[in-house]
Structure formats: C-alpha cells, structure tokens
Amino acid sequence: MLRISQREFESIRRHGEETYPHECCGVLLGQMDGDIRHVTSTARCGNTRTDSPENRYHIDPKELVRIQREGRARNEDIIGFYHSHPDHPARWSQTDLAEAHWLGCSYVITRVAQGKADITNSFGLTGTDESDKAFVDEPVEVA
C-alpha cells in the first residue's frame, strides 16, 4: 500500500497539469514499513526526454543522486517515483515496465486529460530481478 498526504498527492497531480501536454516525473521519498510505503515528501524532476516529452520521461541520475543525498539528511529513502500520462490511461505501459528497475518501489501514474489531472493509480514493482519483475496494482491511501 502507498500512504501519502493530501498535500503531496495534490502536488504530484498539479505537476502533471503544469507540464501538460508533456509527461512530468518526480521522486517519492519516505519510509518502507513492511508492505506499506509511506511518502513523507516528493521531489519534482525535470524530464530529460526533450525529443519526445509528450510520451516519454527520463530523470537525470545526477538529479537522483542529489535528491537521495538531501533525503538522507532528512532520514528519508527513495521509495518510489511518479509520472503522468497526458491524455492516456493511468495504467503502466510496456515502456514503463521495461524501464523500471527499482524493485520493491512504487510507480505512481496520473492520467492528465485535456490538461486536468484525472485518475491517479499506483503500481508496486515486484520480483526478484529483471527476469521476473512485474507491476501489481497497489492501493493508495490519501490521508
């Protein structure tokens, strides 16, 4: 389960609206407690896929190094990521799965329809390695 505050939940949805018609992307930080991933902050990232930002995203690893370092100072770990699907369902794509490598983390996707954030879903990346990884639907608790 993904547990996230209303404020952070709205922040990632707004991010998708602000970058529309391009995909937004960012990082979820917090703590893992068994099967519960508790988001305590989020970090917006730039989408480096300037060649196809309406249907692709990529986060500069250098930005991740910085976010990871700043998170450590707050006792937070990277526990997931988010991005938007402009005018497309809030379901993971084959590209999302192929490019997902953070096993055990959450991948949140928001459908942004005509510039307005619509459905937001979360998927946990399960498996033991690249050969058996899979996304599973994950409940989201907004509190």
Binding site: E23, C25, V27, M32, R49, S52, N55, R56, Y57, H58, I59, P61, K62, L64, V65, R66, Q68, R72, D77, I78, I79, F81, H83, H85, P86, H88, W92, S93, Q94, T95, D96, A98, E99, A100, H101, W102, L103, G104, C105, Y107, D129, E130
Partner: protein
C-alpha cells in the same frame, strides 16, 4: 608483455621498500591503506546502496569499501555482498546498462569509467535509471 588485469590505479608514492614499513605509512593520509603486495594505495570510500538493493547488502544503506578505483570499489562491494553481483553485472561481467555509478556528483562514464580513481572519503552512488512513458516501445 601481457596487459595487466587490474584497472589503472594510483601508484604508491613511496617506492618498493615501503612495504617494509607495514600496511600504513605516515606519508599516506589515513585511513588510506598501502597494499603491501601490489604497492598501491587503497582508500576507504563509501558506496551508497539504492533502496531495492539493500536487501542484498545486509540491509545497509551504505557500505565501506577499500579501493583505488571504481572497479575495485565495486569488486570489494560484491565480495562483501555476493548477492549484489547479479543485480549489478550481466552474466558476462559487464555493468548492467541501467546501473549508473556516480563518484560524488559525477557520472563515471564521463570520467575514466571503471578506471576512475577513488580518493579517501569519496562517496560512490549506485543509481538504477528511471525512465518510461505512455508510448509502447
């Protein structure tokens, strides 16, 4: 002459007789260690482990390694935690394409790759890539 299997590393500044002085020398800033066999300086660096790989690294967020280069740092890391190997390397021993390795804030691909020298108190980050998008491949 055959090519050394070892990556480029920092050579001992003290000459071949220094091994007689023991594993540490006053000419080497601690906690760097002088390897008496190879006559090289190995520094203590910290490798930050990303969340998904911590279960294979004794649940540690960071691991101390002895290394003179990135290759040696990763080698020491997987020798301490062998279960990490298959997550970092392909079957033919190459670093997986989606595994980014940063020395402090620099991608080692843009330095000297795995031969990049590691200094004392450097931090190494292993960062799996983050990408995707709605369009099917």
């Amino acid at each position: 002459m055959s090519q050394s299997k070892w990556p480029r590393r920092r050579r001992c500044r003290l000459g071949p007789t220094v091994g007689d002085r023991g594993p540490r020398s006053q000419n080497v800033d601690p906690p760097c260690i002088l390897d008496p066999v190879y006559g090289i300086i190995l520094c203590m660096a910290k490798v930050h482990i990303p969340t998904p790989l911590r279960q294979y690294a004794g649940k540690q967020a960071a691991v101390e390694v002895k290394a003179g280069s990135i290759a040696e740092a990763l080698s020491d890391l997987v020798s301490q935690h062998p279960d990490l190997r298959r997550h970092l390397y392909t079957d033919d021993g190459k670093l997986r394409a989606f595994v980014n390795v940063y020395l402090n804030d620099e991608d080692v691909r843009y330095l000297q790759k795995e031969a990049t020298a590691v200094k004392d108190s450097d931090t190494i980050s292993i960062v799996p890539s983050i990408a995707g998008g709605r369009l099917a491949r």
